[in-house]
Symmetry: C2
Subunit: 196 residues, 2 copies
């Protein structure tokens, strides 16, 4: 067999969720049916590794020192929303309900995976939130155990520095039927009920 093909199959296994069979299928497909796509992917990888770094303000992936969103004067610089990943940031942007800036953790506290406060660069977050312009920090980490723990840790850290901290509301999802919503969510929605 071809050594270059073996090398390609091995390299494709570095992609998350790709095992030996999938890697082989991908390599065959690219070489047999889409060499143009393979060349394009090679260039895209090279370019991304070469140019993508973290925005100095919000920590998300960016080609420039400050990303477009952080450089946008039309956004509310007094609001800072903290999310785990750029994907979460995009989901919130799609709702069109938030016009402030973001800070992207690029992960979550996860002692089991050995990810502590230092690994998440929370010092960068403190420096960002304490710039004197930010008035309110909205915690939008996931509502998983790890996301909740991360939110709690950051909340304590920022409140100690006199910042106003809020958290996304928990409750029954829009369109949710009580019969099929888990008890924990309903309990939370009952405790957090609001005047109608």
């Amino acid at each position: 067999m071809s050594k270059s093909l073996d090398f390609l199959t091995e390299a494709l296994r570095r992609l998350p969720g790709i095992g030996p069979k999938s890697a082989q299928r991908m390599a065959f497909h690219l070489l047999q049916h889409d060499r143009e796509g393979a060349a394009m992917l090679s260039r895209a990888l090279y370019q991304a590794v070469d140019t993508v770094h973290h925005c100095a303000m919000c920590n998300t992936f960016a080609d420039t020192e400050i990303c477009d969103m952080c450089a946008d004067d039309a956004r509310d610089h007094a609001m800072l929303c903290i999310v785990e990943t750029p994907a979460d940031q995009m989901m919130i942007e799609q709702t069109l309900t938030y016009k402030g800036l973001y800070f992207v953790l690029m992960g979550r506290l996860s002692p089991l995976d050995g990810i502590g406060p230092k690994d998440l660069h929370l010092d960068k977050l403190i420096a960002r939130a304490a710039d004197g312009v930010v008035g309110e920090v909205v915690l939008a980490t996931n509502f998983t155990n790890e996301g909740e723990a991360t939110a709690h840790y950051i909340s304590e850290m920022l409140k100690a520095r006199g910042l106003k901290v809020s958290r996304l509301a928990r409750g029954v999802p829009v369109g949710g039927e009580l019969e099929y919503v888990d008890a924990g969510t309903i309990a939370r929605a009952m405790l957090d009920r609001r005047s109608a």
Copy 2:
């Protein structure tokens, strides 16, 4: 967001079976956790596109004009086994029951996908099988409708040129329980029964 990241996400979608969400997850993973892997994959793709072509004898992927297996004098050059893909070839090699050479179709006849005899380069196969050394051709295409049709077409073509043509045996799989084997397979095994 980063343009290089968008380009990478788009390029990853050229991989078979990868949708927008998976592509994004892969891009984030590579940039956040495995830039070395991304650089390696970039090089592997570039190298494969640059060096991998088809063996002049067996049509499989190879870095050299004739692949290692076709150049191996220890193998039986009078036997030629026809398979659909290099993966099928590897499966047969693993059985250690075949010591001849191969011809890899890199596909199958599939009129619905617009793949006819010309697209499969069957002229290359005829030239290969009619080299005067090959005595028997073993058809090892899949036992799907398309694989069977491909085997039938090639069989007629080669028999017309006076070559001996055989097909892998059909029957009950090793370890198979009759109760759970489909009727078509049992019918075939009954018709092809052999003296015990």
